[in-house]
Symmetry: C2
Subunit: 160 residues, 2 copies
Amino acid sequence: MTRTAETASFKFNHTMLRIRDPAASLPFYQNIIGMELLSEKKSDDFTLYFLAFNHEGKDLTKEEKEASRFAREGVLELTHNHGTESDPNFQGYSSGNSDPGRGFGHIAITVDDVEKACERFEQLGVQFKKKPSDGKMRHIAFILDPDGYWIEIVPSSFKL
Amino acid sequence: MTRTAETASFKFNHTMLRIRDPAASLPFYQNIIGMELLSEKKSDDFTLYFLAFNHEGKDLTKEEKEASRFAREGVLELTHNHGTESDPNFQGYSSGNSDPGRGFGHIAITVDDVEKACERFEQLGVQFKKKPSDGKMRHIAFILDPDGYWIEIVPSSFKL
């Protein structure tokens, strides 16, 4: 066990991705992926959105959402630099999966039933990088978020 | 509450980052950050390492680690494409924070005491992008992992 007193309080709280347009990304992560918006922080030049799955089995108050934002794991921070959504010269963000810009790969959502989840994604018009039926790995899929970031869809019971 | 039966099983399981050299990244994430290696999957061309903080307060068996890998949130997947660690022409991975390649921003670790955590990081020779004393936001820091990915160090009690 590598954990010592010095790191005992540490949590992997969030992953930050830049987004072009919150009007596309927020409905995607809320309605299609099913995350909840925990908080929204607007500055002059940018707005930060913090989202996470609600595993509490009950609605959270505004205060509980704020409190949970830095107290848990599995949070997604979306950064919107104001103006990109209407800038015709904006080139878009890199998914991290091709050069130049390779580095970050994907975020992954585990689900009970990949087939069923992917049927629903298809009905909702989600773009796929890899459908479960494509290629060799039939038990996983990759969908694309509105900026083209890859989201792996993996069964919770997955054994590599 | 945006959660419905269709997404009730979903978890934000992991974030994947490519690494140049596991001999640099594994000691960093295990000994300095304090994560535990849950599993390691070697293929011909690449190896995947899954790490996470152990919040169980006890050692986990190999089976428990494997089982937790896709059953929890807050997992970090590191992908090592074999050969990069010794390839003199390898250009390194993009942190996602400058063009070309901007997109992904950082992962964030919440800690009880940012000052204390950062003093320890300094003693251990960790590179800083922003020390707590730099700039305006004195309560947060950014350190760099061996590939140059940014890791935000935030207090668990943070209020934006």
